[in-house]
């Protein structure tokens, strides 16, 4: 069973129970996952986006004002994201995680396309390679420091996207 194989691979090394639950639900053919307290129905096809990634828990502080944050990232970059947050916060900047990993269902919801089709498989959030921060709470000087430290950690910024997406930070997959 092809999904069983992929799920077995995906579950190796997964530390977070939530991620295990996601993978297990796929293996069971349930086609639904629990995401941040919400039950999201997704097509099995839509699960591909993160089946190939190992997900690891982020210890970075979560913004209490943000809903449904799933503090997971790909295991190859999770420690780097945590140390980025540590370094920024060591400068006295109250940087918080507004978003990180997204299920395909959540991604579809955020793109405003609740009927699926084109609303998912378009973001690195779905693969655990992107996260958002509380950019609206940062002063201009704090933003400059955050961007400098991000560069030191080889973390890239959505401020260069078109359209502009300054809350968004990501790491290009190393393969």
């Amino acid at each position: 069973m092809v999904f069983g194989k992929y799920t077995t691979n995906a579950m190796e090394g997964i530390i977070n129970p939530m991620a295990k639950g996601i993978a297990a639900s796929v293996a069971g053919g349930v086609g639904s996952i629990i995401a941040g307290g919400e039950l999201e129905n997704v097509a099995v096809k839509a699960v591909y986006g993160y089946l190939f990634n190992y997900l690891e828990h982020l210890n970075s502080p979560i913004n209490p004002l943000s809903r449904n944050v799933i503090p997971l990232a790909d295991d190859k970059i999770a420690a780097n994201i945590d140390s980025f947050f540590d370094d920024v916060r060591a400068q006295g900047i109250d940087l918080k995680l507004n978003d990180a990993f997204r299920t395909n269902g959540l991604q579809t919801k955020y793109t405003g396309n609740s009927y699926g089709g084109v609303g998912y498989n378009s973001s690195l959030h779905e693969a655990g390679f992107a996260f958002n921060v509380n950019w609206n709470n940062l002063s201009q000087s704090e933003r400059t420091i955050v961007l400098d430290i991000a560069t030191q950690h080889h973390i890239q910024w959505g401020g260069s996207f078109s359209p502009y997406d300054p809350v968004h930070f990501y790491v290009k997959s190393q393969g």
């Binding site: 913004n63 004002l65 943000s66 809903r67 507004n98 978003d99 991604q107 919801k109 955020y110 793109t111 405003g112 609303g119 378009s122 973001s123 959030h125 992107a130 958002n132 509380n134 950019w135 609206n136 709470n137 940062l138 002063s139 201009q140 000087s141 704090e142 959505g158 996207f161 359209p163 502009y164 997406d165 300054p166 809350v167 968004h168």
Partner: protein, 127 residues
């Protein structure tokens, strides 16, 4: 021939200025006015920026505040203190960007200055 065309172009511009600009000047005081720099990145499904609707009333001015911080935040209806072309509004700590904001109208632009030195330039939306 060219002179005629130039003359016609100039007269059209003059008509535009005479007809359109006074219609803005004659805007009723109670009209809701919307200013926005909201943007939506469809690939990421992320919103960023601010939309402000100014709602004048006989009881004072209220403001609808909609901001994007990745997610599109829920709208807030807030009382504003009006001082000429400036408005002061206090954003409660239920969304990012909480604190006192100064909103200044300059022509068809609003400059929003936040409590942490944030500066956003919003454009007047049609209607």
């Amino acid at each position: 021939m060219n002179i005629k065309r130039i003359g016609r172009f100039v007269s059209e511009i003059l008509i535009f200025l005479l007809v359109l600009l006074p219609s803005h000047a004659a805007e009723p005081w109670y009209k809701a006015r919307t200013y926005s720099n909201l943007i939506f990145n469809a690939a990421e499904g992320e919103s960023y920026g601010l939309q402000v609707v100014i709602l004048p009333s006989s009881e004072g001015t209220q403001i609808i505040w909609r901001s994007g911080s990745g997610r599109m935040e829920r709208a807030l209806l807030l009382d504003a203190i009006e001082d000429g072309k400036n408005y002061v509004v206090e954003i409660p700590p239920v969304i990012d960007g909480a604190g006192k904001w100064l909103l200044s109208i300059k022509g068809r632009e609003m400059v929003a200055k936040g409590p942490r030195g944030q500066v956003l330039k919003l454009k007047r939306m049609p209607g």
